[in-house]
Amino acid sequence: MSEQAAGSVQPRRSAIGRIFRGISALRESPVGMVGAAIVVFWVLVALSASFLLQLGLIFPPNATLAPLMGPGSEYIVSAGRNVMNMPVEQVCSPITSGTDAGNFDCGTFWLGTDHIGRDILSRIIFGSQTVLTYAPLATLCAYAVGIPMGLAAGYKRGWVDDVLSFWANVILSFPVLVLYILIISLVGSSEINILIAIVFASSPGIMRIVRGLTLDLRNREYVFAAETRGEPTLRVLFVEILPNARGPLIVDSMLRLGYVIITIGVLGFLGLGLPPPDPDWGGMINETRQLMMTFPHMAVFPCIAISSLVLGFNLLADGLREVSLKD
C-alpha cells in the first residue's frame, strides 16, 4: 500500500520487461552479442549435460574407460568384456566389417581420454556444470556481503567509512592468489571453503565500487526527498540508492564472474580446488599437465573451455558498458 505510493512516481516496467529491454539494447553491440552467445552456449551445455548422458551421446564423466586415447578415436571393445559394469554385448553395437569385425563399437572419444581413461568431452561438459554453479553462487554471495558494506560506508561516512575502507585497503593489498593460497591452506579446500575464500577476497573490491556510487547518489534530490519523508535508512539505501547504482554494478558483476571462474580454475590448477573426482576444468589441466609433452590434448581442451567462458563474460561486460554509455 504505502510502499507503492512512496516508492515510485512513474509507472514501472515489470522485471521481465526491463530484462528484455536490456537484452534488446545489447543488440547494438556486436562484441556484446558474441559474449552473450558464448555464455548462453555454455549455460545450455551445462543444462543439457545429464540429458546428453541419458541419451547415450556422451560417456559418464567419472567412468574409467580406455586411457591415453587421442581425439576422435573409437572406443572398441572385444567380445566378452565389460563396459561400465555391463556386458559389452548389451550396451555396444557389434562391428560387422573391417579389421575390427567381431568386436564392439562403444562410441567415439571426440576429444580423447585422459591418463586414467576418462572421456575428456564428457568431463568438460560436466565441468561446465561445476563452474557455472559455483562461480555465480560465489559472486552473488560476494555481492551480498560487499553491497551492504559499500552502502554503509558511502552513506554514513565518518568512522564507518574509515574502518571499512581501511579494511578494504588491507585485503586488496594482498596479491590475490597469495590471499587465496593462504586462506585455503588454513581452512582446507572444500566447496564451502572456496566459496568463503572468494567472498572474503572479493567483497572489499565490491564494497569500494558501491561506496563510490553511493557517495555520488546520496546527494541526489530523490534521496533528500526520501530522507525528508522520514523513510528508514535501510529503505533509503536499498530502495532509493541501490537500484540507481545497478548499471555499473551489472557491468562489474560480469567482469567479476570472469575473475571468479579464473579463481576457481586456478585453485584447481594448483591442486587446492574442488575435491575430486567430479570434473573441474582447472583440476583437469593440473592432473594432465605432466603428460603435456606426449598427450597435449588432455590439457588443451579444458584450457580452451575455460578461456572461452571467461572471454564470453568479458565481452558481455564490454558490450554492456558500451550500451550503457550510449544512453
Partner: protein
C-alpha cells in the same frame, strides 16, 4: 607534497602492521598447532611442550607478536621445516629469480602495451582501435594457467622450438625464460594497453589538442609533444599496480614451468605446512605489493602538474 608522501608512507606502515597482525593471528594463535607443524605429527606431547617452552611460545600473545614482528623487521624469519635451514637463505635467491622473470616481463609489457594503447587511442573508433581493443580483451580472458599449457603445446610439442620446463638446472638460460615471460606478457599487456588507450582517447578530445591541430601543427608533433606527455600519466599508475597482478601470475607460471622462483616457493610452503616460510613469503609479497602501490600514488601525484603545483 612532502606531507602527502609522509601520509602515504604512514598508511603503508599501518597496512603492513595490520597485515602482519592478521597473518600472525591466523597462523600462530594456536601454539599447539604450530608445534605440530614444526616438529611433525609424530612428535610426542613432551617434545612439543619442551619446544614451546624453549621458543617462548608460553609467553602472552602480545609479547609473542611483538617479538615475532621484531624478528621480521631485522630479517630473521625463523627456520624452514622443509628445507631444514634458515628461511632467508632460501627466500632471497628465489626472490631474485622472480625479479628476473618480472623484469623481463615488464621489459616487454611496457613498450608493447604503451605503443598499442597510444595507437588505439590516437584515433578512437578506427579499425585499428577496435582490433587492438578486442585483441586485448581476448588475451586478458585467457588465464595464465590456460595459456601456459596452450603455448607449451604449440611451441614445445608441435614446433619443438622451446624447452617445456624452466628449472635452470644447468645454470641460467635465456631460452628457458621465453615461455614463462610470454605467458605473463600475454595476460598482462591487454589491461595496460586498454588503460593507455582510454587515457589517450581522453586527452585527444581536450581543447588544447584541438587548438594544436587547428593551429596547423603536424599531426606527429601534436601527438609526441602535446598528447603523449599527458596521456602517459595514468598508465604509469596502472603499470605500477600490475606488480600486484604479476605476483599472482608468477605463482602459476613458476609452478607450471618448474621455475625456481618466489611464487613456487610460496605454493610449496603452503602445501607442506612450512609455517615460517609461509609467513615470510606472504609478508614479502604484501610488502612488494603495498610498496609499489605507494610508489604509484606518489609518482602519479608528482607527475600530474595540476596536483604538484597546487
Amino acid at each position: 607534497m612532502l606531507i602527502f608522501i609522509m601520509r602515504r608512507a604512514a598508511t603503508m606502515v599501518l597496512t603492513m602492521i595490520v597485515v602482519s597482525l592478521l597473518l600472525f593471528l591466523a597462523l600462530e594463535i594456536n601454539k599447539d598447532a604450530v608445534a605440530i607443524k614444526v616438529l611433525g605429527p609424530y612428535s610426542t606431547d613432551e617434545q612439543r611442550a619442551i619446544w614451546l617452552e624453549n621458543n617462548g611460545y608460553n609467553d602472552p600473545l602480545p609479547v609473542r607478536y611483538g617479538r615475532w614482528l621484531g624478528n621480521f623487521v631485522v630479517g630473521d624469519f625463523g627456520e624452514s621445516t622443509r628445507f631444514k635451514t634458515e628461511v632467508s637463505e632460501i627466500l632471497w635467491p628465489r626472490l631474485a629469480n622472480t625479479g628476473i622473470l618480472a623484469a623481463a616481463t615488464f621489459a616487454v609489457v611496457i613498450p608493447l602495451s604503451l605503443l598499442l594503447g597510444v595507437l588505439a587511442g590516437m584515433r578512437e573508433g578506427s579499425r585499428l582501435d577496435r582490433s587492438i581493443s578486442v585483441a586485448s580483451i581476448v588475451t586478458t580472458s585467457i588465464p595464465e594457467f590456460a595459456s601456459a599449457p596452450l603455448l607449451a603445446a604449440i611451441f614445445v610439442f608441435y614446433l619443438g622450438w622451446l624447452p617445456g620446463t624452466s628449472g635452470m638446472s644447468d645454470g641460467f638460460s635465456v631460452v628457458q625464460l621465453i615461455l614463462p615471460v610470454m605467458v605473463l606478457v600475454l595476460y598482462d599487456f591487454g589491461y595496460v594497453a586498454r588503460m593507455t588507450r582510454a587515457s589517450m582517447a581522453d586527452v585527444m578530445t581536450t581543447d588544447y589538442i584541438r587548438t594544436a591541430i587547428l593551429k596547423g601543427l603536424p599531426y606527429r608533433t601534436v601527438i609526441t609533444r602535446h598528447a603523449l606527455r599527458n596521456a602517459l600519466i595514468a598508465p604509469f599508475t596502472v603499470i605500477m599496480l600490475q606488480v600486484n597482478w604479476l605476483l599472482s601470475g608468477v605463482i602459476v607460471v613458476e609452478y607450471f614451468f618448474a621455475y625456481k622462483g618466489f611464487g613456487a616457493l610460496l605454493l610449496e610452503a603452503s602445501l607442506n605446512n612450512d609455517i615460517y616460510m609461509i609467513e615470510a613469503c606472504a609478508m614479502v609479497a604484501v610488502f612488494v605489493a603495498v610498496a609499489t602501490q605507494t610508489l604509484a600514488d606518489i609518482g602519479y601525484t608528482y607527475l600530474n602538474p595540476r596536483i604538484r603545483f597546487s
